[in-house]
Amino acid sequence: MFDDSSIIVGLEIGTSKVCAVVGERNADGSLNVIGLGQARSRGVRKGEIVDTTQAEEDVRNAIVEAEQMADVEIRNVYLGVTGAHIRGFNNRGVHPVVSADREISEDDVQDVVKNAKAINLPTENNVVHAIRQHFFVDGQDGVTNPVGMLGSRLEVDVHVVHGRTNRLQNAIRLVKGLQLEVDEIVFNGLASSLALLSNEQKELGALVIDIGGGTTDYVVYTNGVIRHTGVLAIGGDHVSNDLAYGLKVPLSRAEKLKLEFGSALVDEETKGQTITITNELGLPLKTVNVEHLRRIMSLRLEEIFQLVGQDLEQAGLFNYLRAGIFLCGGCARVPQIAPLAEQVLQMPVSLGQTNSVSGLKSALDQPEFVTAIGLVKFGSFKTRKREGKPSLAQGIKGALSSLLRRS
């Protein structure tokens, strides 16, 4: 058995699967994945719980499996959240430095951060993250630690991710109903980006796109900090649904065809190819045109990238992604998806690799598990901060704790 305090669990209640990843933090701060549990998800659509009974059962199964594999008892989880209601924006806090010598103190920093986080959200919304970006001292930007600098005006940018309180609470309540504590809720896209990106990539500027079953979550980093987050309520379910409609087959069949014959690009050689669908007895039921199948898929996936592209264009971030684009989520498995994304976004695209986590090879290599691994990583950052000085990050926890309590 392990010392409890070193165990960190990430739980993603996804649209396609529920998965729990158990991580162990070594004395040197490195992370080791020691358990993984998963269950097919039946109570979630577009990233949000629609059937509590089913979802509860699926979460329970995933947790039990993870407990068995890791041989630990799970009591707390970092819970991933997503859904169309989740939004991100940047906010600036301003604080005049009043000390006689104009030297910026720790208190000034705390105050300016507090100002930046004092955000007027509609009452039905709740902050999920308020992440510090950079400081400005008398308008000069790019300051990472202003303490000790001289100046009269201190400013800071924070990236705020927020969502509808009641929709966030649905997931929290469900987990609590299973006698589990929620350490924190974390936006899935943020978790995935933590799992995939190195500090250098964050510094250079990168986009992570997690295309799951019901949502596409994305996060942009520039100059080492989170700049932009977004959720599109479109995912692999849409691909399957389009196929079911276009090929006139049941959804379950469409899903199978997608996995077996799918591709993000339509190449010449598939022209005219057909697949014969047979029933249990092997008798032919129907033939499906492979070109049509791929055309339908390709158009849907292309649109997802176009929508993300338009959003980044609008945010003016397109020219800052010098490390490129990284894909994860189950749909990253679609053959040729990276070349399609490159065509649309005109930038190098690759499949993301989980970064600086070791342990179960089977878990680490799967694009579906990136979010849950990222949740563990998020948890480990938080634990590290808590163990060190009482950091600014506590403030976020404070803002959240009321949400967690109320659920």
Partner: protein
């Protein structure tokens, strides 16, 4: 083909009534203009503008302007608003002449295609330069018409908003609530036509009828101008002793007002009441009180007028506007200040009435011949733009897996519908 304004009925109107010209732009706009032309718009000038000769040929408008360059060969803009815009710029002088003599210009168009989206804002600018106030009535495409049309429409709308004094915008998608699944495409468009026409009528009456309480046109423009999300409108009627209560009930239940939610959320509401001779102030008050309760956060502008032809009907037009996010580029305020002056009674009376009669655009005989030739030559063409519209898969697609979840709507487009369907990609 008529090339003169219908009649000089405008002369007979009391001097106070502003001279109104109604322009239909693009195929949808021209079609909607025809629907309007049947109604009661005594004194208004009707002008149809399109690049597409067959659409103009079918129009009953008194004045038809075909914007044409050799390149187009009467075939329209090919759906590209940039071309529509370019031709309109080229013929700017013609457009301006066409607006001559009007105090108020209505621009009616279906945004999304090349002509309506491209030409409307140029026309609006020409009308402003000719000294008129400009109010645009436009539709946005159905979600299933696809992304490109939506984007073109949005762009056209933004351009219009930056020049016109007011824009009333009806997203076609909203009318889905009003129709059952089996309605044909053309009937669906008839319904949108009908709704847009209602709002034109509502505002027309507001401007031209003797008012118990007159709405100033500048109030109306101010209401529409600074609200950059769409304005929604509804027009309802009731008769009988309980008509005051009934109109409010109908308004609150109106699908275009999102079952009353639009009223509750709006920041400004314009209410225009219209009744027969016996319309009484007490009744007006009763209606206003109840509407006021529905829109607590709104600034309310109201007007009431008598229209004898309504007899015992009470008709209420409501325009509700929401304060949207302020766009990056605001039209300069000075410009709007100028235009407001034009509607003061002084400004209007200063215009010699006779100018209304001579407002035919000064086309050279050569140009006119050209138009005539074009129209004659293309009348027989079968594949007009409407035919193409008719093939759009408007049938409502079962949402399959997403039946029970919140629809994924992006800029008015329902993304749960397969992409290939929305983009009109044919398999086979």
């Amino acid at each position: 083909m008529k090339t003169k304004v219908q009649a000089s009925a405008a002369f007979l109107e009391p001097a106070k009534a502003p001279a109104v010209k109604i322009f239909g732009v693009g195929s949808a706009g021209v079609a909607m203009l025809d629907t309007l032309n049947g109604g009661d718009f005594a004194g208004a000038g009707f002008v149809a503008i399109n690049t597409d000769a067959s659409s103009l040929a079918a129009s009953s408008a008194a004045i038809k302007i075909q914007l044409e360059t050799k390149l187009l060969r009467g075939l329209g803009t090919g759906g590209d608003p940039e071309r529509g815009r370019a031709i309109a710029e080229e013929q700017f002088a013609t457009l301006k002449t066409a607006c001559d003599g009007a105090d108020v210009v209505f621009v009616v168009a279906g945004l999304g295609g090349g002509a309506g989206s491209g030409i409307s804002s140029v026309l609006a600018r020409a009308a402003k330069e000719a000294g008129a106030l400009v109010l645009a009535f436009v539709t946005l495409p159905f979600a299933c018409e696809g992304n490109r049309r939506q984007q073109q429409a949005q762009q056209g709308l933004d351009q219009l908003k930056s020049v016109a004094d007011g824009v009333i915008c009806l997203p076609c998608q909203k009318t889905f609530k009003l129709i059952d699944e089996n309605t044909s495409v053309l009937d669906t468009f008839r319904i949108t036509d009908g709704l847009l026409v209602e709002s034109v009528c509502g505002i027309w009456r507001l401007l031209t009828r003797k008012g118990l309480i007159r709405i100033h046109f500048d109030d109306l423009c101010a209401l529409l101008r600074d609200r950059h999300s769409e304005s929604v409108f509804a027009c309802v009627e009731a008769t009988g002793p309980a008509r005051a209560r009934e109109v409010v009930e109908k308004l609150v239940a109106h699908p275009l007002l999102d079952e009353g939610r639009a009223l509750a959320e709006s920041s400004a509401v314009l209410v225009s009441l219209m009744g027969g001779k016996e319309l009484a102030m007490a009744e007006v008050n009763r209606v206003m009180e109840q509407i006021g309760r529905q829109c607590e956060h709104a600034q309310i502008i109201m007007g009431a007028a008598v229209d004898e032809t309504l007899k015992n009907r009470l008709s209420v037009t409501v325009i509700a506007a929401k304060q949207g996010p302020v766009p990056m580029e605001l039209p300069p305020l000075a410009a709007s200040g100028d235009s407001v002056e034009q509607v003061t009674p002084r400004g209007i009376m200063a215009r010699p009435g006779s100018r209304c009669g001579s407002s035919a655009p000064s086309l050279t005989s050569e140009q006119r011949e050209q138009i005539l030739a074009k129209n004659a030559g293309t009348r027989a063409r079968k594949t007009g733009p409407k035919m193409r519209q008719a093939q759009l898969p408007l049938a409502i697609i079962s949402k399959g897996r997403f039946d029970k979840s919140e629809p994924t709507i992006h800029k008015g487009e329902d993304l749960d519908i397969p992409t290939y369907v929305r983009r009109g990609v044919a398999l086979n």
